[in-house]
């Protein structure tokens, strides 16, 4: 039995094509990433970049939702949520950062090209970029953050990083020291949730990476996610066509985030599955307490391994629960509804908290080996923590939960 199948997930809900995709991704990433990572470590040019291309362009994750007429695969019904989960946990197992980037790409596709809310005009404008086979499209978002310097307007307690105003047929965007959710160095397309001058309604505006007035700072060092080389941006009078505003409504924005959180949850599950495989190899062979007592047979360490497996299972079930909610709007509501969005936010936070605990425990069990780059575990530990921080402060998310469940109004 494939050891990843040990962990429960609603296999019955997945289409054959999802299972096939997961299986081929599993093989691909094993050969192209997992088997090479000891040698290539987290090398961006040597390992991560070529594999991003393989995943997005050759396997075609970046074509998934777009209409066939525009070169996409038009796998754009809500059931695609399962596909996203199944694919990204496989990618996340190989490299959390790559899956995190793919999650961004897929979330943008979902926001524009879902069958139910297909934005034909936007698809026609942007699908070619994703479908022309020329290269991977690195998508990054410029979202509100908690505790912006100054007095920026806020969305659910977070301050907008980018301000927009409409002027003579264009949007003009400004923002200084803007921190993207990923890939500030490499992104081809930034999706900015902007405060709009003199208006209540924010706007979600796409900014091409080569837009004039957009400058990227130097790559900054960070804990993990080597695949996402990040840098702060300055937007100074960046001008984009009015049509680059994809939506103004909160529902659409929440929908984008719900899909992003699904992708990120699956990414984290992938990281945990990798940690499982690393610990398994270790626990099968490591002897403690003198001779003969294999690590996994020790009542204490065995129990901890059991607890880790429990955590991984729960995280996986939760991620697929979210997929199930997004896959079935008639039962649960639109992905952009407050209820589904809140659930998505709860799930991504819970999955990441569970991941943090499980991988901390895995490190404990592997002691120095867990801490050594050679054993590869520590990169998942760094990556998952980084993802958790980028998803945002748990404190503010809890306010969202309180808004939804208790009707809090002023938080």
């Amino acid at each position: 039995m494939n050891d990843l199948e040990l962990f429960p997930y609603p296999k019955n809900r997945l289409q054959k094509t999802d299972l096939d995709l997961a299986a081929s991704l599993q093989n691909l990433v094993q050969k192209e990433i997992v088997d090479k990572r000891l040698e290539l470590k987290e090398d961006y040019e040597g390992l991560l970049k070529p594999n991003l291309r393989k995943l997005l362009v050759e396997i075609g994750l970046q074509r998934m939702f777009w209409p066939e007429s525009l070169g996409g695969e038009e796998h754009n019904g809500p059931e695609a949520a399962y596909t996203v989960a199944a694919a990204l946990e496989q990618v996340g197992r190989a490299d959390t950062g790559l899956a995190y980037l793919a999650a961004h790409n897929l979330a943008l596709q979902a926001a524009l090209a879902m069958r139910e809310n297909l934005d034909t005009e936007a698809c026609a404008r942007f699908a070619p970029l994703f479908c022309d086979g020329r290269g991977p499209v690195i998508v990054s978002f410029l979202l509100p953050v908690f505790g912006e310097d100054g007095k920026a307007p806020t969305w659910r307690g977070k301050s907008f990083q980018v301000k927009a105003r409409a002027a003579s047929g264009s949007w003009i965007l400004d923002g200084r020291g803007v921190r993207p959710t990923c890939s500030g160095v490499d992104a081809d397309l930034f999706g900015a949730w902007c405060a709009v001058e003199n208006e209540e309604q924010p706007a979600f505006i796409l900014v091409p990476g080569d837009a004039s007035g957009l400058s990227r700072g130097p790559e900054f060092k960070k804990t993990g996610l080597a695949a996402s080389r990040n840098a702060d941006l300055d937007l100074s009078g960046v001008q984009v066509p009015l049509e680059n505003c994809l939506f103004r409504g909160e529902t659409e924005y929440r929908r984008l985030l719900s899909w992003l959180y699904l992708g990120i949850s699956a990414t984290a599950v992938g990281g945990l599955l990798a940690a499982y495989q690393i610990l398994k190899e270790w626990g099968d062979n490591r002897v403690i307490k003198g001779t003969g007592n294999v690590f996994k047979e020790n009542p204490l360490t065995g129990a901890l391994m059991g607890e880790i497996a429990q955590d991984i299972s729960m995280a996986r079930l939760l991620a697929y629960d979210l997929a199930g909610m997004l896959a079935d709007p008639p039962s649960f509501g639109d992905a952009g509804s407050d209820g589904v969005f809140t659930a998505a936010l709860m799930i991504v936070h819970q999955v990441l908290a569970t991941a943090e605990r499980a991988i901390h425990r895995t490190m404990e069990l592997m002691a120095s080996a867990g801490y050594a780059k050679e054993w590869q575990l520590e990169r998942y530990w760094r990556d998952l923590k980084t993802v958790q921080c980028y998803v945002g402060s748990h404190e503010l998310a809890k306010h969202d939960f309180a808004r939804w469940f208790y009707g809090a109004r002023t938080l």
Binding site: F146, R286, V287, T291, E364, L365, Y371, K373, K385
Partner: protein, 425 residues
């Protein structure tokens, strides 16, 4: 610059403090501000060469002469091996260094770790002090020691002296005339990777034996023929501590290089374990003190609805938890240090009782610190993992404090064994 309260707001048991510890603490504070903090963001990439890491050590250990402190005064040392305030003073020093870089604090602490076996009452080995003091006192270059316990097949078992009694040690010391001949392979000791000048090696004189008399801790100057050190490993953090392999191939040293002698080596091994745990708490506290400073800057500078972030009740809850963790862990740490100092009150620090207490204090402290720092990183969102805020570095570094010294689970077993009188764990 926003004026905020500094790190000295956190409680310490004032009645335990010593003038010397405080004085040296101040010196170290100045040293870290000038020599370490400005450069530490580059340390990760310097893990192999230590181009940035070695010069500040030269100043602290060599030029200020702190590497001498344990040796008797008549041998050019400061005589702290005879004091009953060594640990509290060390706690203060470790905290101050860890505030800048806990990897450096470890490398610093381990300079003294094996020397405890020969410099401290009641088991001063005068002849070895005379032998090795000049290495440390006669130079302004930094001199490093290491304590080599861990082996490829496992570290915890070797530290699990009470149960395994040295039976898993594979590094052998065979007597040949008036010399030991040492063969074996160690890995991970702090200050390896070519750093150490002197090591204490945990060996067996009779492989597989469960007789504590067969555990031998033998000093080996690193330039002896047959000693080979590999390059430093690449790790998640703690770049300022180099760890690598050491191979011993027919390494010869005089018989009297054995630290304390048959039976006593095993006995006083407990002492280095206690002190290692005590020091680990100081590393965790030092790190948290610096994160407190960073967090002060963050929550004062960042705003939320027009007010500093700290004025938001939800944020304040996280801040309070962090402050409460520092308060509690720091007091535990100083108490642990005091317990190790005042053996007249608490009993000898090498006994299973003190080992268990120190392990309990350490793993509790490390767990709390990690949890608290993890929450701070999360509060800082995308700035939490950003190297420029220094918090993530501390998070990566301090994870090791939880993992070393036999791992957390061995600690749990030793604690349970002592407090609940378990017999077969």
């Amino acid at each position: 610059m926003i004026k905020v309260r500094g790190i000295d707001v956190f409680s310490r048991p004032l009645e335990y403090l010593t003038p010397l510890g405080e004085q040296v603490g101040e010196i170290i504070r100045e040293w870290v501000e000038k020599e370490v903090i400005p450069y530490r963001r580059e340390f990760d990439e310097d893990y192999l060469e230590h181009r940035l890491i070695l010069p500040p050590f030269k100043k602290l250990l060599g030029e200020y002469g702190i590497q001498r402190i344990l040796f008797p005064e008549d041998l050019g040392g400061w005589g702290l091996g005879h004091s009953d305030y060594l640990c509290v003073a060390a706690f203060r020093m470790f905290e101050e260094i860890a505030r800048a870089d806990s990897g450096m604090a470890v490398a610093f602490g381990v300079v003294f770790w094996p020397l405890v076996l020969i410099c401290c009452e009641p088991h001063v080995n005068r002849r070895l002090c005379e032998e090795f003091a000049p290495m440390f006192t006669g130079t302004t270059e930094p001199v490093f020691s290491c304590l080599a316990m861990t082996e490829p097949q496992g570290g915890s078992d070797i530290e699990n002296v009470e149960v395994l009694k040295g039976s898993t040690i594979r590094t052998t010391a065979v007597r040949d005339g008036d010399e030991w001949v040492i063969n074996g392979h160690k890995l991970w000791p702090t200050n390896t990777g070519g750093v150490a000048d002197l090591m204490a090696v945990v060996c067996t004189t009779n492989p597989g034996s469960r007789n504590p008399e067969d555990i031998a801790i033998i000093f080996v100057p690193c330039d002896r023929p047959g000693v080979t050190q590999g390059p430093a490993y690449e790790k998640a953090g703690m770049a300022a501590d180099k760890n690598g392999d050491i191979w011993f191939e027919n390494v010869r040293v005089p018989l009297w290089y054995r630290a304390c002698g048959p039976g006593d080596d095993a006995k006083y091994y407990g002492e280095v374990v206690s002190l290692g745990n005590m020091g680990s708490i100081a590393f965790a506290v030092g790190v948290m003190l610096n994160i407190y400073e960073k967090l002060q800057e963050y929550v004062n500078r960042k705003t939320y609805r027009g007010m500093p972030l700290k004025e938001n009740d939800a944020v304040a809850g996280v801040l309070a938890d962090f402050a409460a963790t520092i308060e509690a862990v720091r007091i535990i740490g100083y108490q642990c240090a005091r317990m190790c100092d005042r053996q007249d009150l608490y009993g000898p620090r090498w006994t299973p009782e003190i080992v268990a207490r120190a392990r309990a204090h350490r793993y509790f402290a490390a767990d709390r610190a990690l949890e608290a720092i993890g929450k701070v990183m999360n509060l800082m969102e995308c700035f939490g993992p950003d190297r420029d805020w220094d918090v993530e570095k501390h998070w990566r570094d301090i994870k090791m404090v939880q993992l070393w010294l036999g791992g957390k689970q061995l600690s749990q077993m030793e604690v349970a064994r002592w407090f609940f009188e378990c017999e077969t764990l």
